[in-house]
């Protein structure tokens, strides 16, 4: 296919693939509770993930190895083990949440309880991981995820007062029912949702799966610099729509179906159907990514053959980890646990573990042994270091805030 089309496809995939259940829930919840008062957090988060995803892609293209693979040899097995255990656990929670998201999206069309659909969903996710090529997975679910643009359409259709919205976003004010602690807690949750660690593992391993070399760096940069911010705008649309429709009615978001309710109110049946399709695609794609990430992290730490670019018979333990993770994720959901609570824990704990994920990327991206001449420039390092400081502050504040606000209640 022509080069231009390929690039266009890549950017679209990045936009559509940016949002997952964490973003859906976090943006809708904060929109309903704080209006646009936390919009700035999404912007800060998007810049952060753009900076680090570009680095992770560059590492993979220069060294031929994904970032996580290099953590053990660069930072030692102990640090890497802590990284592995924390990342695997959080990734597992995220996987379960995404599986729930798919099941819930389908339940909205079937009218049955989502729990009944979990086993079928888990099986479907695994079958796609097993049989579909990496590139096809990325493109199909990424493009389908663009259905979430319906939130932008809904927002425009509402004809909101754009000036007052802009004012609300640029002059964050604390609503009377909230405290500075809940504000900070939700800021952290939103941040964790935007800078999800698995994105980076997956992105980096994906670059190797697709055989990126230095020649692909420009495409990588385009996808990241254009795709991710547009994905961030999608997140903000979800937040804005919730603030315009749910907040005035005193509705706080505690379930996934509430997230798409504004679209039904504004755009009717068609809008609702498109929104549900978007949720399905976003969560299905993310379930695949987190499933594969479970395999990538374990296999790369232990040096096993990994990847979809080889026959499953040649990477058996990798595929076993992926299969077992999906099965355990489904069983976890069948225990009846609240999927929104699982989502919230996954994004908040992601925020707490961010320094663990991002610090190795920065170290490796500066190492000429892996990067050759493509090490970070001074400006990039300055930005990345600033972010690392922010991430550390966020990580330290997470657990105390979780206790003080009793989980954001």
């Amino acid at each position: 296919m022509s080069r231009f089309l390929k690039i266009f496809l890549g950017v679209l995939t990045a936009i559509g693939g940016f949002v997952d259940i964490g973003d859906l829930v976090a943006n809708a919840e904060t929109g309903a509770r704080f209006g646009l008062g936390l919009a700035w957090v999404v912007l800060v988060g998007v810049v952060g993930i753009v900076v680090y995803a570009e680095m992770a892609g560059r590492v993979a293209a220069s060294s031929g190895r994904p970032v996580f693979d290099l953590v053990r040899e660069r930072l030692g097995p102990r640090v890497a083990l802590v990284n592995l255990l924390a990342s695997f656990f959080i990734n597992f929670l995220t996987l379960a949440a995404e599986l729930a998201g798919v099941a819930i999206a389908l339940s909205l069309l079937a009218g049955v309880s989502y729990v009944l659909l979990v086993p079928a969903v888990a099986f479907l996710v695994w079958v796609v991981v097993w049989r579909m090529s990496f590139g096809a997975i990325e493109h199909v679910f990424g493009i389908m995820g663009l259905a979430l643009l319906v939130f932008v359409v809904a927002l425009v259709h509402l004809s909101p007062d754009w000036t007052s919205m802009l004012h609300e976003a640029t002059h964050p004010a604390l609503p009377t029912e909230e405290t500075p602690f809940t504000y900070a807690f939700f800021a952290i949750a939103l941040f964790g949702a935007a800078m999800t660690p698995y994105e980076v593992f997956f992105f980096s391993s994906g670059a190797v799966e697709e055989g990126w070399t230095r020649r692909d760096l420009a495409t990588n940069r385009l996808n990241v610099y254009v795709g991710f911010p547009l994905g961030g705008l999608l997140s903000l649309a979800i937040m804005a729509v919730a603030s315009q429709v749910l907040r005035p009615a005193g509705i706080s978001v505690g379930t996934l179906p509430q997230v798409v309710l504004p679209v039904a109110v504004v755009l009717g049946k068609v809008g609702l159907a498109v929104a549900i399709l978007g949720v399905f695609a976003a969560t299905f794609g993310a379930a695949i990514e987190t499933g594969l990430s479970a395999g990538y992290t374990v296999a790369q730490y232990l040096g096993w053959q990994w990847g979809k670019f080889v026959r499953p018979r040649d990477a058996p333990r990798f595929h076993l980890v992926v299969l077992v993770s999906i099965v355990l994720g489904a069983l976890f959901l069948l225990s009846g646990i609240d999927p929104i609570m699982v989502t919230e824990y996954s994004i908040v704990l992601s925020a707490a573990a961010l320094p663990l994920t991002y610090f190795p990327i920065l170290v490796i991206a500066n190492d000429p042994e892996y990067m050759g001449t493509l090490t970070n420039g001074k400006v990039l390092n300055a930005i990345a270091m600033t972010y690392l400081c922010i991430l550390t502050i966020v990580a330290v504040a997470t657990v105390p805030l979780m206790i003080i606000t009793k989980g954001g209640a």
């Binding site: 909205l108 009218g111 309880s113 009615a249 005193g250 509705i251 309710l261 039904a264 989980g407």
Partner: protein, 145 residues
């Protein structure tokens, strides 16, 4: 190694335990606070059902979606009623508050359950009860800032 594992497990248990809001209320103020949170959540659920049922009536959504939304709200209200009811009222003044809130929750649950039954039968739900309940909840919240 083993000591680290035990410490981490204890830390996780502590954090998970603290991150959950249901605990006893020892003063009237604390009890009223919990009442406020409960009524606020109840209002959110009733308004959600109102919005969803309204959208269905206007032809802006479809049956299965509305059924799930209403069922979720019904489950949530039941949970709220149960959780609030299980909190020990600290004094006699709190008893009156308890009855008040329980009545509000009961009415909300009745309205939402009726809506759920109607939606699942593909019948038109009666929104009067929902509107009344929503406004009663809002009034209570205004009276207890």
């Amino acid at each position: 190694m083993r000591r680290t594992v035990v410490l981490v497990a204890l830390a996780v248990a502590f954090v998970v335990g603290c991150a959950h809001p249901v605990g006893p209320a020892r003063t009237f103020g604390a009890y009223e606070g919990k009442a406020r949170t409960t009524v606020s959540s109840a209002r959110s659920n009733v308004e959600t059902v109102r919005l969803a049922v309204d959208a269905l009536a206007r032809g802006n959504s479809f049956g299965p979606y509305t059924a799930v939304v209403v069922s979720d709200a019904e489950d949530a209200l039941g949970g709220l009623q149960g959780t609030f009811g299980s909190i020990q009222p600290p004094d006699r003044r709190a008893d009156a508050l308890r009855r008040e809130v329980d009545d509000l929750l009961g009415d909300a649950l009745d309205g939402v359950s009726a809506a759920r039954i109607a939606v699942r039968r593909s019948e038109r739900p009666d929104t009067a009860a929902l509107v009344e309940s929503a406004s009663a909840l809002a009034q209570w919240l205004a009276a207890h800032p």
